[in-house]
């Protein structure tokens, strides 16, 4: 389908990953200089010039497995290490968050605004590192150059391609369940109220015209929904108000004392963080993640890993199945609600693993492309 899908998939998943990691680094009291280094290293890797060149080439989507491998690598681009279970959890959260954003974005073109929300946040993460900032700015330019001329139909094709990528993933995420935007069966709630997408009229009006173009009658029909007029269109430029909130940092509520982070005096300028009321479960989710992360050990690469395995190119199905199907380990010492949830998500994961093996069998082209990108990440 659309050969323009991968950059949006990568940038938005990467953005979600950074939100979660940023929160974890704070919550675990990682020394600010080390936390900063992790964020900077990952963002530098994400927006590496050569890597982006490869990313922006027209291409089919990678298999789920290949993309997961890219993110495994990206997460380990710095001195931080994640064990496998943590990485699984991180990846679940990232993918379900972006699936939600793709599904809910009012019109297909709003995917670009979702991406800019992620980019704006990333830019804020590295605002004191001019060299990284210029990489990020370059990515804005490429996004604007490639995506703003696309037609509504092309954006719909990108969206449909993304939805096929995320199809049948129904992992339950507690922050979504708590916010009542996800049902207990893992399906997202689709509102039949609120503003219609930009360019769409509120349903209910029927207009009839005569042969010479005169309006002869106007009728209303009952819609069954409760819609309001569209909001203004968000800015599709480097700066400005994106208007829609999808893609902003939903974990921001659980970092109440962020202003004392060294050097990062959080000003409120164009901060479009959603939710102003504290959401305890967002923190729970991340605490859960923290536990799963076991030790979010800050290590220099090359140091001995203490009981800690990074096996990024593993394609051995059995090995992965073993890793994925260990609910006891994944739910150790966590809240009950989380434990139940994890058993569910394990079933979903097992299902996804089924997809992986299928994909692996049928899409050799896709995984070899994955290797190209991984090779490039290796070089960095």
């Amino acid at each position: 389908m659309s050969s323009r899908t991968l950059p949006l998939l990568f940038i938005n998943l990467g953005g979600e990953m950074l939100y979660i990691l940023d929160q974890r680094l704070r919550a675990q009291n990682i020394p600010p200089d080390k936390a900063k280094k992790v964020m900077n290293d990952i963002i530098t890797t994400m927006f590496n010039k050569k890597f982006l060149e490869e990313l922006f080439k027209p291409q089919e989507l990678y298999s789920k497995k290949a993309l997961r491998t890219v993110f495994d690598r990206l997460a380990h681009a710095s001195i931080m290490r994640l064990n496998q279970a943590s990485m699984d959890k991180l990846y679940d959260l990232m993918t379900m968050a972006f699936k939600y954003q793709v599904l809910l974005c009012p019109r297909p073109k709003d995917l670009l605004l979702v991406s800019f929300n992620h980019m704006d946040a990333i830019k804020d993460f590295v605002k004191e590192a001019p060299t990284i900032l210029s990489q990020v700015d370059e990515t804005y330019r490429q996004l604007i150059e490639i995506y703003t001329p696309l037609s509504s139909g092309e954006f719909q094709l990108i969206r449909q391609t993304l939805l096929i990528f995320f199809q049948d993933m129904h992992i339950r995420v507690s922050i979504f369940l708590k916010d009542k935007v996800q049902n207990s069966n893992g399906r997202f709630v689709l509102p039949t109220t609120g503003p219609v997408p930009h360019g769409t009229q509120v349903p209910s009006l029927m207009r009839m015209f005569s042969c010479n173009g005169e309006e002869v009658s106007r009728l209303q029909f009952p819609t069954g929904g409760n819609y309001s007029s569209a909001l203004r269109q968000g800015s599709l430029e480097m700066f400005g108000d994106r208007v829609i909130k999808l893609g902003t940092n939903m974990y921001s509520v659980s970092r109440p004392v962020e202003t004392h982070m060294s050097g990062t005096s959080k000003n409120s300028a164009q901060n479009t963080k959603v939710n102003t009321t504290p959401n305890p479960l967002a923190k729970e989710e991340l605490n859960m993640l923290a536990r799963l992360m076991g030790g979010l050990e800050v290590q220099k690469p090359g140091n001995t890993d203490n009981g800690f395995r990074v096996n990024l190119f593993a394609t051995d199905e059995e090995e992965e199945e073993a890793l994925m199907s260990r609910p006891e380990e994944m739910s150790y010492g966590v809240l009950n609600i989380q434990a139940t949830k994890d058993q569910q998500s394990d079933a979903a994961l097992a299902k996804i693993m089924g997809d992986f093996s299928e994909q692996g069998d049928t899409a050799p082209g896709a995984s070899s492309k994955g290797d190209d990108l991984l090779a490039m990440m290796d070089m960095m």
């Binding site: 027209p58 719909q156 939805l163 096929i164 009229q201 509120v202 015209f209 819609t223 929904g225 896709a366």
Partner: protein, 336 residues
């Protein structure tokens, strides 16, 4: 007006693709076939009318002579010709035609695909059977391929390529009323919302081109000389096919329309969208003015489902079937 019946389970969930449900009624055998696309597979379900028997079949998009991986399927639709019924699949690699039960592939047409992917995606989408012996299929470059179908066998030939659309073809439909009086036989739609109205024949003739508003027309139908078009804005427009006169404009849905269908005998119109609503409308022609009018009949909300396919199950609109993204079932509704 309608009530929900027992759902039909499918082996795979439906992908978010326009018009992602096709229904074929086989009266002599009291069967209805349903087909839904899931990524690179097509699920076919045959359901007996008594609701007791279901049989399933999966088709893969395994194209002959294509060395690379399987491609994603864009649409699957049954084409009913007087002499035979065929199941047509369109994908990123080409067009496949099967016997109606999916058992035998009778024809394969490869699309011209570049070695390395280009910015412009390549795929076929939009399927219509026209008159006695034509099946037309749209492609992403805007072309329409006209295939000449013999009454039996696999000697299918590409008879013509119609180059009028500048954007990717989204959907196509032939006159569904069966009326021989209508001049226009077929309508095609594209991503810019442009509608082309055609007269079939050994050489297809463009009767009219109705310009769009830079918004995709995702689903289109042709009924008694009236084009019914559904758009990404959620609007439905009714045009007189030959003149392009706009007869009605309805702000029908809050999100992209994914599917329209018409029950030709009753003039019922079904519309379904990402907003999780299916709506039933009634179309009527006023003979004096030759104008078509539309009235609203019924709403159904398929909760938390972005609907991607909706079709009447019979010519009167007595029953309709619906499916949606990520849904492993076909939901049926019957008039009460």
């Amino acid at each position: 007006m309608y009530h929900k019946e027992k759902s039909i389970q499918t082996k795979n969930s439906a992908s978010a693709l326009y018009n992602n449900l096709s229904v074929l009624r086989i009266a002599p055998r009291s069967l209805t076939y349903f087909t839904v696309v899931h990524a690179n597979t097509v699920s076919i379900v045959s359901a007996s009318w008594d609701g007791l028997n279901y049989s399933h079949r999966q088709l893969q998009s395994k194209e002959p002579n294509v060395a690379t991986s399987t491609s994603l399927i864009m649409q699957a639709a049954w084409c009913v010709l007087p002499s035979r019924d065929l199941l047509v699949l369109t994908s990123q690699k080409g067009i496949q035609m099967y016997e109606s039960d999916g058992s035998i592939m009778v024809y394969w047409h490869a699309l011209d695909t570049p070695e390395t992917p280009t910015a412009q995606a390549v795929f076929a989408r939009g399927i219509a059977s026209v008159r006695e012996n034509y099946i037309c299929v749209g492609v992403s470059s805007g072309g329409i391929l006209v295939f000449d179908i013999p009454s039996k066998g696999g000697n299918i030939t590409l008879s013509e390529v119609l180059e009028e659309h500048k954007e990717s073809v989204t959907d196509m439909a032939s006159e569904c009323s069966g009326s021989q009086e209508c001049i226009a036989d077929m309508v095609s739609a594209d991503d810019a919302g442009t509608l082309c109205v055609w007269k079939s024949g050994e050489e297809f003739q463009l009767l009219n081109k109705i310009t769009g508003f830079d918004m995709s027309c995702s689903s289109v139908k042709l009924w008694k000389g009236t084009v019914v078009a559904g758009y990404g804005t959620g609007q439905i427009r009714l045009y007189e096919a030959v003149t392009g006169i706009l007869h009605a404009e309805v702000n029908a849905h809050a999100r992209w329309i994914y599917s329209l269908d018409i029950a030709p005998f009753s003039g019922l119109l079904l519309s379904a969208a990402e907003d999780s609503f299916v709506r039933v409308w009634h179309l009527s022609l006023t003979p004096e003015s030759n104008c078509v009018e539309i009235s609203h009949m019924y709403n159904e909300c398929v909760t938390d489902t972005q609907i991607c396919g909706a079709k009447f199950c019979d010519g009167d609109g007595y029953a309709f079937a619906v499916t949606g993204y990520d849904l492993n079932e076909i939901i049926r509704y019957t008039q009460t």
